[in-house]
Symmetry: C2
Subunit: 200 residues, 2 copies
DNA sequence: GACCGACTGTACAGACCGTTCTGGTAATGT
DNA sequence: ACATTACCAGAACGGTCTGTACAGTCGGTC
């Protein structure tokens, strides 16, 4: 274990990952070259290649880190803010709104990355696991909330989630989150028996 | 005016535009180089530059052509298939589904292009006019259909339209169109007074 | 002191990029 | 007959890209 001294430094791997995250997300994985990343991270180019193997490896690590960050934020905030499964189902869209408010928000990182790669890229595999996670997040909550057809509701909410991200990005309007929450509320009410009744 | 002889050829501009459209859309504007485009179009490289000025000019022409194509398809199909403004409002999502069914569908071209450019690019201006057109399409139809708040309904439907495109693309599921149509139906019913009543 | 792993800095190869230039052909309008 | 226009094939240019090679630095460990 490295000792925590006053001259403690953030390790090169972490610096590379944050630099790559900022640049890739802001300008696209294809536009940003490795030279700019190593310059921003204050890391030698050789270090990048020993740690990640190739630029593609760094891109994969970047997307994996994004997924992990969104997942952590979602789970933490949902648990902290909402009581019932139904409220958490709606809360997903409020937490998504937190992302919209971040400075430099540029839409879903996976949408952006997929737009830049041809079919069969390694990026697509990571995208599939991300999409599967998002869908199962909605599916599990819909199940827990007592939806008549959790599968169907999950599909609807994924669509709204996607649309909210695109609209917020392309129209530069973070307020889209409340719009999405309202639509989601309608869909949830319609999908859960006695969804509109107050309580029991 | 060029005479229509037996050796009539499709002009170079058109060939370039279709070649660029296929390649840019399938692989991204940044991934595809001009060499591949001129090779596919059977055009000299100099011709590209006399006709479009630069690669960026070709990208702009590609996006403009995409916009025009979608607009024409939308207007033609909406007029041919549906009678009332309310049916046309819903029909937008069915026509969008026609795009999903096209072989090689890869989502909205403007979403893809925007993911590849940094802020301030000329692509963003074209995107704004495209987004404004889409929004006004919904807004005008919502008005015509007697929506209580056409602005609000248009915003909702733009979000659903965006979400449908992303979901259909990322999950490779053209059936998303019927899902989007169902959601749009709910929103339209809720936004138009007496929307659920049969007729008058 | 010898050793080691993590890291630096620079220089370079090879490919590919957008763009321009040269030089030529075929048809058109006057 | 001549200038113009529209186009073609390909070479050449300067720049940037990923990836590699190599010599060297630093903090700990035996």
């Amino acid at each position: 274990m490295p000792t925590a001294s006053a001259t403690e430094q953030i390790p090169a791997r972490e610096r590379l990952l944050t630099a790559a995250g900022e640049l890739f997300y802001a300008e696209g994985v294809h536009t940003v070259g490795v030279d700019r990343i190593v310059a921003r991270a204050n890391v030698a180019k050789a270090t990048l290649y020993t740690l990640f193997g190739s630029k593609d490896g760094l891109v994969r690590a970047y997307l994996t880190a994004r997924h992990e960050r969104v997942r952590e934020l979602m789970i933490r905030e949902l648990a902290a803010r909402y009581e019932t499964a139904r409220a958490r189902l709606l809360g997903v869209f409020e937490v998504q709104g937190l992302l919209f408010d971040e400075p430099g928000f540029r839409g879903c990182a996976f949408v952006g990355a997929n737009a830049e790669v041809a079919d069969g890229s390694s990026v697509q595999e990571l995208t599939e696991t991300y999409r599967a996670w998002l869908r199962s997040l909605f599916h599990d909550l819909a199940n827990e909330a007592g939806a008549a057809d959790p599968e169907a509701l999950a599909g609807q909410l994924v669509l709204v989630y996607d649309g909210a991200g695109i609209s917020a990005w392309m129209d530069r309007n973070p307020g889209t989150a409340t719009l999405a929450t309202a639509i989601a509320g309608m869909l949830i009410d319609a999908a859960i028996p006695d969804g509109k009744e107050a309580s029991r």
